[in-house]
């Protein structure tokens, strides 16, 4: 069953094993529930018959013995079900642990910010480390070790299609792992209340073939090309002479701040504002003009740009593919 976006829309091993366990537990729960309802229903019916017959309540010792036996049976049955439950849980827990013989895992360090995501790919060659924001690409079939850090408050990293969640706790270095076994594009949500815009702290996940992933990676590593046409040049100037440069970085320019998401390849991203807005020219313009109208409380201030400046800036940003 694939209910898109749900924990049953599995695309990787840990999520699959968990979904199987969840199904099992749901079925066991439903059967148990039915049994409890049926027992209650029978009790009510039997007792009502007693009332209709005009009998008093039955407090005879034989009945008490029978009922004691039935309660004992129900208790033992409960205990057995719970034993099965605990065993199934333990087995699944083992199955979803980090595979110790993982070949060539990818290591990604995730840092949570109020209210956006930073991803740092820790390649084996330090000069190939890639830092990007709000969009996570992973190659299909390769285990990914995820290191979870937080810049401010507790967040939670959760891609339901791939695995359960783990919290990003300031002062702690938490880890988890994911592995996509089929390609796909998903939306992940922050899963720990982190303040005003917890509701709109998302990121895009793209699982693609290793070749496509390498291609994406290399393109992301490349610095931004200098703008060629005049509009884009003017836009570049707006970017570095106004407040944008105070928080954002674009590799290959003077902009190097990491207070906010890095924007080197912003035009290649499907969404902006931490996954909560489709990346279109209009949306980008609205966002830059006044982010507070879209995500009230977000740390980015409004920017009063003249229409000419805004258009130039958008032209420039559109070149950052």
């Amino acid at each position: 069953m694939t209910w898109a976006g749900s924990i049953f829309d599995t695309a990787g091993t840990p999520a699959e094993r968990i979904a199987r366990l969840a199904w099992f537990l749901i079925i066991v729960s439903a059967v148990t529930y039915l049994l409890v309802l049926v027992a209650t229903g029978i009790a009510i019916r039997r007792a009502r018959a007693r009332r209709t017959r005009g009998d008093l309540a039955d407090t005879r010792p034989e009945t008490a013995k029978r009922l004691t036996r039935n309660v004992a049976i129900a208790t033992i049955a409960t205990t057995l079900i719970l034993l099965v439950y605990v065993t199934a849980t333990a087995l699944t827990g083992k199955a979803i642990a980090w595979p110790l013989n993982a070949r060539q895992p990818l290591t990604i360090e995730v840092t949570g910010y109020q209210w956006w995501w930073q991803f740092r790919y820790r390649d084996s060659v330090p000069s190939n480390w890639l830092t990007t924001s709000n969009e996570l690409h992973i190659p299909v079939g390769r285990p990914v070790r995820v290191i979870l850090l937080s810049n401010d408050v507790i967040h939670s990293f959760w891609i339901p299609e791939l695995h359960g969640k783990q919290d990003l706790i300031p002062g702690h270095r938490n880890t988890t792992w994911i592995q996509a076994d089929r390609p796909g594009v998903w939306k992940a949500h922050c899963a720990e209340f982190c303040g005003h815009q917890h509701a709109k702290m998302q990121f895009d996940v793209v699982a693609e073939s290793p070749a496509q992933f390498d291609q994406w990676y290399r393109r992301q590593l490349a610095s931004a090309l200098p703008p060629t046409d005049s509009a884009a040049k003017r836009g570049h100037d707006v970017f570095v002479q106004r407040t944008c440069i105070m928080c954002h970085s674009i590799n290959g320019t003077e902009a190097g701040s990491n207070v906010g998401p890095e924007l080197t390849h912003i035009a290649s991203r499907p969404s902006i504002a931490a996954g909560s807005l489709p990346n279109t020219r209009v949306n980008l313009g609205r966002w830059i003009l006044n982010p507070q109208l879209i995500k009230p409380g977000v740390r980015m201030p409004p920017n009063a740009l003249s229409p000419a400046d805004m258009n130039a800036l958008l032209d420039y940003l559109e070149t950052l593919k």
């Binding site: 309660v71 300031p170 409380g297």
Partner: protein, 650 residues
């Protein structure tokens, strides 16, 4: 110069001017003072408990309106009815008010009303402390909502995780208001717990040995012990949070060796027992109703009582299941999964025993019994969804999603609110002397039962669908709109059911059928006295011969005479077998508990703004406590008889 009784302290024959009948004499001694002053100075457990129940329901109503507002906001994707700041205040105060200002106070107040009557005494063990507890609770509740109504409502979630709630990310006084509300309600809860435990241990009717104590009373005793151990943890944690914010301590600041997880451990060590503190009284109420309406005592008394105790103990070993998404060892996690599963066993035993009670009884399905069946149907869903959450791998998928609110509302509404509403219909006649409307009662039951399912089952599904919790909105392309809309419609049904319930209460107060002393034919002592109960409860303290006090004897009840009729005097009995042991004089109405609560209030609220407030409050509290403890002047018009232990030996 040893203590000789003063002449005025010797026993005095009854004053020829006193009222003729026993009832009049006792009423004169035990009633509250007149007017507003009488209301403020009351030390009567029923007066205090009733006002506390009404206060709790007032907070329940406000928190319910907040819930309705949230559901309106979530009914459509990207709705702009409520923005994030207000929404965060709403869900935080909804949760905090429901947990701290409604759930615990209401069950403790029901206990403070009915436990003394059920065990055959005239008042709780510490009447003035009881009054103090209520005022402290009221101040805490007013503090929280004053914050909300001045846009300084707490907004960090009812469990207030750090660092979000710390000085770095929650400026202003919002979190401090929350932290002090915790302090007020913790004091009130501990006070009420001590009242219940001591009253039950020392003031039971002669013959009510521990194995004859009604299961409802046992439930309240177990819950009270849990309060004594658990509440201090949340109070310590909230004090540490307040200190981090006000005087720069570093408990939760990792940069100086503190730890965000320390908060979680301290809070959840309280937080998990807290939900059982709320749930166990619900089990007690169910026991009382099932027995009366099945026309037989609860089946498996010993098993039920031992299960309640087991639940109480086990609940302290589960808290880490709230923290599975944090860095923990696998062994640690497995332990808490197993422990969380284990608590289902005694819970199951109690439910099986009640089903057995119904099975062998001849039940009537008046409204209270409907709520019991509703409890079984709803709470079981809550418990089973809890098992899903206790399994670490599944938990990692569904925790912190909408599945959680779905689960908690099933267990809280099913496990406590439904038994509470059943108890409302059951005990309303005893409190007011009038019956509630059965027709309205049944209609509101069905509206609530259906409403709860329509509201919260979709939330279980939404969690599975991937919707996180505590979000003020969600995107249109998430596909969550349909289930959210359904949930919001369910909330409307619940609101309607609640409205009918309120109308039922109002109409019944005005014109309900006369109830008489024992409309339900109950087995416990509260049904032996008139409805409403007289201020002194029992003209003579009854003697109990069996587990079902009223079903063990059919005719007149044996009783105990010899307590003074010109002073407030109660009988104390031994702990195990309830053998009469000593007499104890109770205080008359006094304003001192209110003054003490105000002194504490001044200290704790001023202290949010300036530490000097604590010092001032401390001094004022000491003065108030000195007034509390100061002996009254011996009065020549009121006689006392102080027979001392040493006198008896001579």
């Amino acid at each position: 110069m040893s203590a000789q009784p003063l002449p005025a302290e010797r026993a005095v024959e009854s004053d020829p001017n006193s009222p003729a009948s026993l009832h009049d004499r006792l009423e004169r001694v035990w009633r509250n003072g007149p007017g507003l002053w009488g209301w403020l100075t009351s030390v009567n457990h029923k007066s205090i408990a009733l006002r506390s129940i009404i206060t709790a329901f007032a907070f329940f109503g406000i928190a319910g309106v907040e819930a309705a507002l949230m559901r309106v906001q979530l009914a459509r994707p990207e709705n702009s009815f409520i923005g994030p700041d207000l929404y965060n205040q709403l869900f935080t105060t909804h949760g905090s008010a429901m947990m701290f200002l409604f759930a615990v106070p209401v069950v403790q107040s029901v206990a403070l009303y009915f436990v003394p009557i059920m065990i055959g005494t005239r008042n709780v063990a510490f009447p003035r402390l009881n009054a103090f507890g209520y005022w402290t609770y009221l101040i805490g509740g007013v503090l929280l909502f004053s914050g909300l109504f001045t846009n300084t409502g707490p907004d960090q979630g009812w469990f207030s995780y750090v660092p979000l709630a710390g000085p770095g990310f929650s400026p202003g006084k919002r979190v401090d208001i929350w932290a002090q509300m915790i302090t007020f309600t913790e004091i009130a809860a501990i006070v009420a717990a001590i009242e219940v435990i001591v009253t039950v241990f020392k003031q039971r009717a002669p013959g009510m040995s521990l194995n004859r104590v009604p299961p409802f009373v046992w439930a309240m005793v177990v819950m009270s012990f849990m309060v004594l151990v658990a509440m201090p943890y949340v109070a310590t944690a909230s004090a540490m949070l307040a200190m981090d914010r006000l005087i720069a301590t570093q408990f939760f600041n990792y940069a100086e060796g503190g730890d965000a997880l320390l908060w979680q451990h301290l809070f959840w060590f309280f937080g998990h027992p807290e939900v059982y503190i709320i749930f166990i009284p619900g089990l007690g109420m169910v026991s009382a109703i099932v027995a009366t309406f099945s026309r037989r005592p609860v089946f498996g008394y010993t098993a039920v009582v031992l299960s309640l105790v087991a639940i109480g103990f086990l609940s302290f070993g589960l808290w880490v299941h709230h923290m599975f998404a944090t860095p923990l060892t696998q062994t640690g996690q497995s332990f808490f999964t197993a422990a969380s599963a284990m608590i289902a066993i005694p819970t199951g035993v109690t439910i099986f025993c009640w089903i057995a009670t119904i099975w062998s009884g001849r039940p009537r399905f008046d409204t209270p019994m409907l709520y019991v069946v509703g409890f079984i149907a709803l709470f079981t869903i809550g418990g089973l969804s809890g098992l899903l959450l206790a399994s670490v791998p599944v938990d990692l998928q569904i925790t912190d999603t909408d599945f959680l609110p779905g689960h908690i509302h099933y267990v809280l509404l099913g496990g406590m609110v439904f038994p509470l509403f059943g108890a409302l219909h059951y005990w309303f006649p005893k409190v007011t002397g009038r019956m509630m409307s059965e027709r309205l009662g049944k209609v509101s039951f069905w509206l609530l039962f259906i409403g709860v399912n329509v509201t919260f089952f979709p939330q279980l599904l939404l969690g599975i669908a991937g919707m996180p919790r505590r979000v003020y909105t969600y995107l249109a392309d998430s596909g969550w709109g349909g289930l959210n809309l359904t949930s919001s419609i369910g909330a409307g049904l619940i609101a309607l059911g609640m409205l009918l319930l309120v109308i039922n209460v109002a109409r019944s107060l005005a014109a309900g059928a006369a109830a008489g002393a024992d409309p339900w034919g109950g087995e416990t002592l509260e049904w032996a006295i008139s409805s409403p109960a007289p201020d002194y409860n029992f003209a003579y303290i009854p003697i109990v011969h069996g587990r079902s006090a009223l079903w063990a004897d059919t005719g007149d009840l044996d009783a105990v005479a010899g307590l003074r009729e010109d002073r407030r005097e109660i009988l104390q009995t031994t702990m195990l077998d309830a053998v009469p042991d000593s007499r104890h004089e109770h205080p008359d109405p006094t304003i001192v508990p209110l003054l003490t609560a105000l002194a504490v209030g001044v200290g704790l609220i001023w202290g949010i703004f300036d530490p000097i407030g604590f010092v001032v409050g401390g001094v004022l509290t000491f003065i108030a406590l000195a007034a509390w403890g100061w002996p009254e002047k011996p009065s020549l018009t009121r006689a006392r008889s102080w027979r001392c232990q040493s006198d008896r030996r001579r």
